[in-house]
């Protein structure tokens, strides 16, 4: 996953629900040094909360989007995030 263009990530999940699993794995995809370049916020939801998992991402160009990850797989999230990251990367490369 391309994490270079992310500025803020906030993850909320319910650890006692299977639906929270994807959000937890998403956290594990952020590398050991990413906290120096972006803000990461994690919230552990209540045990009987309805929401399984939620991921909010904000990019360097100001675009942000929210995902309810209860029914998504980790590959789905990576695809969503990378789609925008790639366009930023292309602009970055062209500008030199």
């Amino acid at each position: 996953m391309i994490t270079k263009y992310l500025t803020t990530v906030s993850v909320a999940f319910n650890p006692f629900s299977k639906a929270g699993r994807t959000a937890r794995i998403f956290m594990a995809l952020l590398g050991p040094y990413t906290r120096e370049t972006m803000k990461i916020k994690t919230t552990v939801l209540n045990r009987d909360s309805e929401v399984g998992g939620r991921v909010e991402v904000r990019f360097k160009d100001g675009k942000e989007f929210q995902m309810d990850t209860s029914k998504m797989t980790i590959a789905d999230i990576v695809e969503e995030v990378d789609r925008h990251s790639r366009s930023l990367k292309r602009a970055d490369d062209l500008s030199g």
Binding site: P15, F16, S17, K18, G20, R21, R24, I25, M27, A28, L30, G31, P32, R35, I40, T42, V44, N46, R47
Partner: protein
């Protein structure tokens, strides 16, 4: 000379200290699993071959679970090695400050888990009550797997045991130690002042998920463990220690009508004893059916005869 290093590698991969090097180099055949006579209660029997890493991990986890009354599970997100070292050191030193003479700090450990194998050994502990059934015959692991299959869906801890998780295990349930450990590892606001900066950067990558109290502490036997969420763990950490609670209970019993309670409870016993004693005397012939002494009547009859 070409064979020796090969066989040496083979030996180093088998994770065993049970065979002597000379025999292993001489023969390629793997000896049968040890029977382990007179093993301690925390030492799991070997059902599968002990020469694979999976089996060893399973046995380590099962042994850890059986000897640990309190565990806190947390997620670790890509910590560097130096951060792990710093955190373990801070935890040890922080716990030592409470009571320098106690052995608790050394036995309070952070173990990084392989979630799938840990979940299997956890199911074996919770679902397959080893106190009553012990299975070391071939195929025993299949029996355990079949009996604990339903726990995959029903046990509240099974969704927690996925992804990169680690466990903080305590050798006994001591709220003061738990509180100290939580303050260091999972601070509510800012990390404690004076921590190693490496430890601080590592702590940001920890997320506390759940806790588990062993069945022996909670329900008196395995399989009755209690799963706690984050709030409940923090509540447990705020409790006073066991001696204080005992004292409070005694004081409460003594103060709030404890004497009356004991009198009422003993009244029933005294009444029952008297009734049973009367019946015993009746049957023995000491008393008649009205409960009066027999001696007087007997004496009267003798007088009539005389």
């Amino acid at each position: 000379m070409a064979i020796r290093p090969l066989s040496f590698f083979r030996l180093s991969r088998t994770y065993t200290s049970l065979t002597s090097p000379s025999t292993s180099i001489a023969t390629d055949a793997i000896p049968p699993p040890p029977t382990l006579p007179g093993l301690s209660p925390t030492q799991p029997r070997t059902v599968k071959s002990p020469y694979t890493r999976k089996t060893q991990l399973f046995r380590i986890y099962l042994s850890l679970l059986r000897s640990t009354p309190l565990m806190v599970f947390f997620q670790h997100n890509n910590l560097r090695a130096v951060e792990w070292i710093a955190i373990r050191r801070e935890l040890l030193f922080g716990l030592r400050k409470i009571d320098p003479t106690s052995t608790l700090p050394e036995l309070t450990r952070i173990t990084v888990l392989k979630p799938a194998i840990f979940a299997t050994s956890f199911r074996a502990l919770e679902g397959y009550d080893w106190q009553h059934k012990r299975s070391s015959e071939p195929g025993g692991s299949k029996i355990i797997a079949k009996e604990t299959e339903t726990l995959k869906e029903t046990h509240p801890l099974s969704p927690v045991l996925t992804g990169p998780i680690a466990a903080l295990s305590f050798p006994s349930v001591e709220p003061t130690h738990l509180k100290a450990a939580l303050d260091i590892l999972f601070p509510l606001k800012n990390p404690r002042k004076g921590l190693d900066p490496l430890a601080v950067s590592g702590l940001q990558k920890f997320v506390m998920l759940a806790g588990w109290v062993d069945g022996h502490v909670y329900g008196g036997r395995n399989g009755e463990g209690r799963v706690m969420d984050v709030d409940l763990i923090r509540v447990l950490a705020l409790l006073p220690d066991v001696n204080t609670l005992h004292g409070e209970l005694l004081a409460m019993l003594r103060g709030a009508g404890g004497a009356d309670l004991i009198m009422n409870l003993s009244n029933a016993g005294v009444g029952l004893t008297r009734t049973v004693d009367t019946y015993r005397k009746m049957l023995g012939g000491e008393l008649d059916s009205d409960g009066k002494p027999v001696e007087a009547n007997a004496g009267g009859e003798e007088e009539k005869k005389g």
